[in-house]
């Protein structure tokens, strides 16, 4: 201990180390080091030069630091410095090289020269300062790198999360698209959409409202998850919550805050929702419904991404509805509006499909007799009513799988599927003749008509009558057979035979 007392230099170095180590800001550390060095040397002036610039200076009045002079001393161009009011002070200098070279400058007023121990001390302090600054810089760099790495990791995690979400959404959407293009039943598609919305957005409740076509301002819940919606009647839009609002406004609507559910919530006595959002659904460009998700969780908030997801889903529902509607319109055009039977186009399509499928079908071609006099005496409404009743009677006589169609003004056709025995076809033909001969009552008047029926069967190896598709061919054969029935006295059926074709002078082309 006595030796330590004799060399205060060690003590001063240790104290300087303690001082510099207590800062993690380089500027503050350098300034504190300058002060400490001055104190240790009982000097009036101390300065630290870093990278050729005065980084800290103690002992000069504010704003009067003689930077040029200090740099000159640091470069060892001179060993004194002028301090205002004190004349020249002897300077002592110690430098270090390396990444950031620097110099410690001490200047003390008075005549005493610096001792060897003091020179050692200043050199020691300079070295210590260099090491401390290097460590500080390394620490800062490491902190900066670590911070950047952490930020990058957070960003990566966020991107990954987003990608996963996108992928999930795409998978769900492609399932829906596939269902739409496969012409799955509409209700099934809507069910798939609501289930997928629940899966992706995560709320307990999903509902699809569709506007009531008969009553504007009202909507019915067509598909849902989490709601007891069986046989729910249509309701005014104001009562349809966020979905109703979305339909009225034609834009995405978000509702926060406690409000009533528009239907009973399944598996819960609760009817209160805490958050709901809905997007409008379109058909042929018009708003026809609203797709809703809702939560019974207080504090639920919908992120921008979730709103975008709901919007995508609503668009898919719009696509599905528009497509189904088109299909519906096609169907409606394919049916005869008067009788409700298949129209000619549809009938031929079905016939073609059936022949392509099985190959053993029978065709009955039915021409009504004595319809014109009814039209003439009772008018066309009566004629229409007559056709309707005839169609009903025909429809009642065929099997569910068979198809009846109206193919001309007074002409009907019946496709009998899977006919292995010709007698099946002729039995039905006979019954049709009998039924249509029964009196009808049309607009209050008793009426009696009849029918002539031609029967033709299709067989894969049957010779074709003409160079035409099988369906056309079959229809013509049945037609020829019908004509034969007319020639044989009407009110009867005839089965096609090739000889009939020879007797024809006039070929009525159907097609």
């Amino acid at each position: 201990m006595a030796s330590a007392g004799e060399s205060p230099e060690i003590q001063q170095l240790l104290e300087l180390l303690a001082v510099v180590a207590s800062f993690d800001d380089e500027d503050a550390a350098v300034h504190a080091a300058a002060e400490r060095a001055a104190q240790a040397m009982e000097a009036e002036v101390a300065a630290v030069v870093l990278d050729g610039e005065v980084a800290a200076a103690v002992g000069f009045p504010d704003g009067a630091v003689p930077r040029a002079d200090l740099l000159s001393v640091a470069r060892r161009e001179r060993d004194w410095i002028e301090v205002p009011g004190l004349d020249k002070c002897r300077a002592l200098v110690a430098s270090w090289t390396g990444v950031r070279p620097g110099t410690l400058v001490i200047a003390r007023w008075g005549d005493e020269p610096y001792t060897v121990e003091e020179r050692h001390l200043v050199r020691g302090m300079a070295r210590l300062l260099e090491l401390s600054l290097t460590m500080l810089r390394a620490l800062h760099t490491e902190q900066r790198l670590r911070r950047r790495a952490d930020e990058q990791a957070v960003e990566n995690a966020r991107l990954l999360e987003e990608l996963r979400g996108q992928q999930h959404l795409l998978v769900q959407l492609s399932l829906i698209q596939r269902a739409i293009s496969r012409r799955e039943p509409l209700e099934q598609i809507l069910g798939t959409v609501t289930a997928a919305a629940r899966d992706l957005i995560g709320d307990e409740i999903v509902g699809l409202w569709i506007a009531d076509p008969q009553e504007p301002g009202r909507a019915r819940l067509r598909a849902s998850v989490g709601l007891d919606a069986n046989d729910l009647p249509s309701m005014p839009l104001d009562e349809a919550g966020a979905a109703g609002a979305a339909m009225r406004r034609g834009e995405l609507v978000v509702i926060y805050g406690e409000h009533d559910a528009p239907a009973r919530v399944r598996d819960s006595a609760d009817t209160r929702l805490y958050a709901a959002m809905a997007a409008p659904v379109h058909q042929d460009g018009r708003v026809v419904g609203g797709l809703l998700v809702a939560s019974c969780r207080p504090g639920r908030r919908y992120a921008g991404r979730e709103q975008d997801t709901l919007y995508s889903f609503a668009q898919n529902v719009s696509l599905a509805l528009t497509d189904a509607h088109t299909f519906e319109r096609m169907n409606r055009a394919a049916h005869d509006t008067l009788t409700g039977l298949a129209g000619r186009g549809l009938f031929m399509d079905e016939l073609t499909a059936e022949l392509g499928r099985a190959g053993c079908a029978a065709l009955l071609f039915i021409d009504l007799d004595r319809v014109k006099p009814v039209n003439d005496t009772l008018g066309h409404p009566a004629g229409d009513e007559l056709l309707r009743q005839a169609a009903d009677r025909i429809g009642a006589l065929i099997r569910p799988d068979d198809l009846a169609g109206r193919v001309g003004g007074d002409e009907f056709a019946v496709l009998l599927r899977d006919v292995t025995d010709q007698r099946m076809a002729t039995d039905i033909a006979a019954r049709i003749v009998r039924e249509l001969a029964r009196p009808m009552r049309v607009l209050g008047h008793p009426v009696q008509i009849g029918a002539s029926v031609g029967v033709a069967t299709a067989a894969a190896d049957a010779p074709r009558l003409m160079d035409a598709p099988a369906a056309q061919d079959l229809l013509r054969r049945a037609d020829i057979a019908m004509y034969q029935a007319k020639r044989n006295g009407r009110g009867r059926f005839e089965i096609y035979s090739p000889e009939m074709a020879d007797g024809f002078t006039k070929v009525r082309l159907h097609g």
């Binding site: 201990m1 205060p8 001082v19 000097a43 103690v58 504010d62 205002p84």
Partner: protein, 399 residues
């Protein structure tokens, strides 16, 4: 050396003068007015320095100063005893008045100094710009004794004033009540403040500071410290190491008053290039944490000593400080002295001892008026960058 003046308290050319007045009436206003009039002696002062016992309401003292010398800058504080001709007192208002064309004075006040010590020091130092640029300058500083880390105030001052301006001053006291003293400046009573008075003069001004403590035994290494406290000395709890080194009585280890009494006369010594600095460790007792306070920062790895002193060594220091200050006037006859002694010295000297201290000062001063007080810390900087002291006598001699 006996300085001689034709007129005590006045320079030979009559351009500078200092007078000291004292009054001990119970009413602060009256005491202040009387002391001022006695100090001025019908002359127009440029500056009043007032040292008032804590028993006087400082507001009344301010009123008395303004009554006796309206419009004259008056700066001062409360004390733990006032110094002046006739001996140390405990109930007076002692006023030193300075005047004459050879002096120029400017002052500055900075409040809310705690927490911004360095800034406050830098701010008050700017009053140096406002005095006439006469040949010699000194910056007088008075601080609130309750402010911690006063060394930082001085660093702030040094950063603005620079190495060419000596510093002199003290921390105000409160009669050892330890509840808070007061500063007087600008017609106001202040706390948590720093007051600076820039004084420039045609004649030399010199500052000296001495203490009478000597090291006891081997030094101890600071192995853990922080925030102005020393926690471990030689890897053991600091308080116990210090008490062990001095063979302290058992009650000092456990009882606060016993420890304070023991420590008052046994400061810590911190090695500096030109000697050992004394640090008062009797304030802020920490019996539980076993740490000791060292005033300014004592860094890890530093060496400190236990120190002892007695009346003889203290009085030798008294003489030496006065002599040095007077000698540094370079042959000029002194116009006046300001003498700031440490309140903690009274514990060693006792009431009799301080009278002897006063007598020594008076003897050194000769006919030169002097005034001062017992402070909670002395400020004196001539060399280096440090300036805050404990347990010393600081003297400013005005030529």
């Amino acid at each position: 050396m006996q300085p001689r003046n034709v007129h005590p308290g006045q320079s030979f050319d009559g351009r500078r003068w200092m007078g000291v007045g004292r009054a001990d009436c119970a009413d602060g206003r009256q005491a202040a007015a009387e002391a001022t009039r006695a100090a001025c002696n019908d002359r127009e002062p440029k500056l009043l320095l007032v040292f008032s016992a804590i028993t006087h309401d400082p507001e009344t003292v301010v009123a008395g100063l303004q009554e006796a010398a309206p419009g004259v800058p008056a700066v001062g504080c409360t004390t733990h005893g006032e110094l002046g001709p006739g001996g140390p007192t405990d109930g007076t208002v002692t006023v030193a008045a300075l005047g004459g064309p050879g002096f120029s004075v400017a002052f500055a006040v900075e409040e809310h100094a705690s927490g911004r010590q360095r800034e406050s020091g830098a701010a008050v130092a700017r009053c140096l710009d406002q005095v006439e640029p006469l040949a010699h300058r000194v910056l007088l500083l008075l601080t609130d004794g309750m402010i911690r880390d006063q060394e930082s105030i001085l660093r702030g001052v040094y950063g603005v004033a620079g190495a060419a301006v000596p510093l002199f001053g003290g921390a105000c006291a409160d009669g050892w009540r330890m509840t808070g003293g007061y500063l007087i400046a600008d017609g106001r009573v202040l706390t948590d403040a720093v007051v600076g008075v820039a004084l420039s003069s045609e004649a030399p001004l010199s500052v000296a500071v001495r203490h009478g403590w000597h090291k006891v035994g081997d030094p101890m290494i600071v192995t853990d410290s922080g925030d102005g406290r020393v926690y471990m000395l030689d890897d053991a709890p600091a308080l116990d190491t210090y008490l062990d080194r001095l063979d302290a009585p058992p009650e000092a280890y456990t009882q606060a008053d016993a420890l304070v009494e023991f420590a008052l006369s046994r400061p810590l010594g911190v090695q500096r290039r030109s000697g050992v600095e004394a640090r008062n460790m009797s304030t802020e007792i920490d019996l539980e944490g076993r740490s000791i306070g060292g005033g300014g920062a004592i860094d890890i790895g530093g060496l400190i000593w236990a120190m002892e002193g007695d009346e003889a060594s203290i009085l030798r220091a008294t003489d030496a400080a006065c002599d040095e200050a007077l000698a540094r006037l370079g042959g000029e006859n002194p116009v006046g002295l300001l003498t700031f002694s440490c309140a903690a010295l009274r514990a060693v000297l006792g009431d009799q001892g301080i009278r002897r201290e006063g007598a020594h000062i008076e003897q050194r001063a000769g006919h030169t008026p002097f005034a001062g007080f017992y402070t909670y810390g002395e400020i004196a900087r001539v060399r280096g960058i440090d300036g805050f002291h404990n347990q010393t006598l600081a003297v400013l001699a005005l030529g």
